[in-house]
Subunit: 237 residues, 6 copies
């Protein structure tokens, strides 16, 4: 029933390539099927002004898409002079999710900026970004410990994310573009590897959804995210 | 236990003032306790370019805050030259929610723009905005029918919204600023008066939340929103 | 002869509501007939860079219109990414006028920002803004004295403003939109309650005006502004 | 008493150089003493969208200052990405004044854009701009008649402008920078050669001014502007 | 003598990966040693306004760098709201070079946009971009012929580019970052496979250079570019 | 053969007017035939942030065109809110060229900003700008020495610039607009008065050019620039 032939709860093949580029303290290429995102984590001394002098660190994130990562070319945001609402919304989501994974007071007055740049899009770019960003973040934290910039590990738990939805009346996990563009409902879920929720964002695209549908989607999300944690851990092993 | 002395599921007094300003086809002042938002619905001929020639209409929304609607003055977005990610995110949320309430093909090639401008903020500005915007939208649709711009009523159902959260370990409904600024979790829920969900946006501000906490919040949301539908209907009677 | 049936020198009913919103140190809703403006005065520590270290304070102002305060919806300036020349011109006029009322050296290194946001427009928004802003300013200065941020009262005199014009060949005071949009000449006058002039801005919209017409308008302005001072004082009593 | 040794009503030497640059339909260098402004009038087919199809023309203006036209270098507005409020205000003043001199319905669907660029500033740049712009406008209209783009002369009358002020308690005409920067009051007056007023903009910089002072300034303005009309006519002869 | 141990005229290993991403009509990953650039060519119907109705096509290009493609993180241009002068300069260079390779009148009213996004930078990003962009362009033109959007091959010749410079007094080819950041002179050369020049841009970074040094650099450039043409042709075979 | 009747290597009449405006430390009007550029050099204390505390100075430049310096009016960059790529590219070229002429460490922590504003354009505006900017720079350095802001002369050598090109198959020097707009190749060359090269920027506008053509152009450039040095020196004598 799914265009890809997958079962309802089946996620796409996921690969995680660490050290994908040379300069960043953490650099990951994550692939959720045909969705491909470069996630780099950059460590910089200092914190934004509102945090200065508190001895705490900061984690932030920015999201972008290459102009032709999509089916038809999108206008380059740097050229149009502003980031779209969607771009800012996703950047904020990634940043909030990552901050929920880190004890900022164990980070010292340092900032980690995670850039998630989509080079090929086939649905689920924000959930792939979060899942890859967490791996890049771990590499950056390891770098900081190796350089003795921090004394303890600020990571509280791993995080990963998946999209779920209602497609042709059935709950499905990890929607690709063919599903996403015609799904009745789309929900993005971010969880910790301790089984708790960080973010839940559900939107009725075509039809309002019931509480039962929501529960069914949440169960698929939990199961799919658990698979992602295994993949993250294997990549970091 | 709540700073306001309310019970866990108790929402703030809500008032809806229609015809609040003179020029808009729909104009509502909505108050959720000390949160006050002016919602105007403007009807214009024509649709955005991507819809031209399809015989369908469009509903969009913009959100803003007066600079001193908040405890300390915020920089005016018109002066800083751009809208913040938060502003754009809320504008998009309101617009999506309203579009879910309207049969766009019954609207003709007309656009309704709903502006939600916060004149006083005490938590819950986005949920008050959605709840007030729906009343302004109804007034605008009634205007269109009276002017014979449309033949049938495009409204599929009413929508309303409430924030719920986990505050000091307990699920609470309709958080005010004192609660919102220290809640562990914050969730905004938009529903139809047919008991279905339009949007669910939950965020772990301090602590990840469990599936059980999420369910408890969802129950409070359902109950609170039902009260809002009664208030909307009384206002429109 | 006037669309509203008023006599040539008759101003509209003016109401001043103090403490209109909760957070600002001064908050006034001023109504000149159907023109309604929210004026808030915000007190902040510190001064702009060019004044630092001189022991003097600063007073500034910003003006805006809600998108549907007007007959047809205007584009939101925050969304278009810049303020129009008209907006900046009015902001500068309000700010200059207020600074003329205050002894900046008695203000300490503090800044008062007055925001004038039009929620309903029917002509004369800039003169209503100045007249209401002065009341909000007085409330903010009283707050500063109560908080012992300043030792003496920096207010040199009250200010108020009115528009006058030539409409169908006759000088008239306090033009509403119906008059303003077809007046031959439009003049805005700001005065002190000591009978002196702060600003005079006269513009020939349709026809050049004579020195005699200017004098007639100035006399109407003086008389109308004196009524405004009575209303301000009653509101502050 | 005046820094320049001039009498109270004496204006600076004014020179008008036509055909100052090669490409514009009208191109004038105007000098008010050490203030030097290049005014070019450009004729283009077509009108702004709001005028299309009405058979009328449009006249507009833009004002700018070279970064080092002033005592210390100002930031280039093109580099900072926006025009200041002062720049926009002066552009609007010049444009309104010029439109008051032209019968737009005799202009056909053509637009004349007058650019006033200050290459050296010593006070009175806006009044020099208006006075020079009117000459450039006449040259552009003559060009249009020669090219048979218009059939009748759309010019209703000449316009010219001067600044007057109160300096050390005395009314003075055509303030230079030394006076302007310490004047109590500054007033810009635009008049027609038929003895009527187009714009009056008076501002109390230091001290409020009386009605008597205003009248005294207006008399000086009238007298000075009449001298400017003689100079314009000599230049155009 | 060179940090990399290369001989003076030796270029870095160059690899060209076609079909690197899925959606673009031409998509190439080009690597000049550790410099890696994704070049996508997008075909769209229509041309910019200034070309409409002439039956000719257009080729344009945009260049960007991922924020952490460099040693330390650069600010994201989409977030800062404008492209730097360097970015625009390189975009213009790539676009001009590509247009010199194409007979625009054989392209019909179609536009090809080539995006060059640097994912890892180690010197020579603009020359790698041009060399890779030409391969992506060929793929896009082949796509157009296969889809019968064009009848003849608009490609006049291949182009490729290399940087040359004077490093520690010696002319060298294809500078990497270690050389580029301390070279006395830096020159970028774009050539056709017919042995002619498209662009020459030489800059004295530290020391002016002589005519003899320029000639020596030009000879190295010619030789290096010829190697690049062999690599392009092998990739396209 | 040339539209102007000049011989192939003949440059246009060049005039240099120093002290053209009053306020700048260096102010030059340079004319290359009908191309006229005002070049002002402004001296300011302090350096950009990246240079602070190193005891070195900085030289930078900005380029602009008056809207009607060209055949048809261009949009004012300050009004459109951004500088074009061409403008930024030329600004960067002028700045780099000037820095190559100055020993920054002899400048102290001072910044010289050279503004080149084209008031009339007839081809070669960037080369006229550089040639005039160098004279303005010398005047500013002389001012600094006279004011004892610097102890030694930071000027390493004079610089001047010329455009050369291939026009109707022949190499020509100092192209005017008639030639420039139809030349096959356009090359800008910046040299020192010690006979060395600072910048070479050659572009095939219509047809790729050969190495021989490049050499022929370089010889013409050398000869023309030597004439410019004589003119600069005469002006500075």
């Amino acid at each position: 029933m799914r265009p890809s032939g997958r079962t309802l709860g089946q996620i796409r093949p996921v690969t995680v390539t660490r050290q994908f580029t040379a300069h960043a303290e953490g650099s990951v290429l994550i692939e959720f099927g045909d969705t491909k995102v470069i996630c780099t984590a950059s460590v910089d001394e200092g914190v934004p002004r509102f945090l200065k002098g508190q001895g705490k660190g900061w984690v932030t994130a920015e999201y972008g898409m290459l102009p032709r990562s999509t089916h038809s070319r999108m206008r380059r945001e740097a050229a149009s002079g502003k980031q779209s609402g969607r771009t800012l919304e996703i950047s904020r989501l990634i940043a909030r999710s990552l901050r929920a994974a880190v004890d900022l007071s164990a980070l010292g007055e340092n900032t980690i900026t995670v850039d998630c740049d989509v080079i090929q899009a086939d649905g689920g770019t924000r959930t792939a970004s979060i899942t890859g960003a967490c791996v890049a973040l771990v590499d950056a934290l390891n770098y900081m410990r190796a350089k003795e910039l921090i004394k303890t590990n600020p990571l509280k738990h791993m995080i990963a994310a998946i999209s779920v939805g209602v497609y042709k009346g059935e709950p499905v996990a990890d929607l690709d573009y063919a599903e996403d563009s015609s799904a009745e409902t789309d929900m993005n879920v971010v969880m910790t590897d301790t089984g708790k929720l960080i973010e839940v964002q559900g939107t009725a695209e075509e039809e309002p959804f019931s509480f039962d549908e929501m529960n069914a989607m949440m169960q698929l999300a939990k199961q799919g995210i658990n698979e992602l944690f295994d993949i993250q851990k294997a990549a970091l092993a």
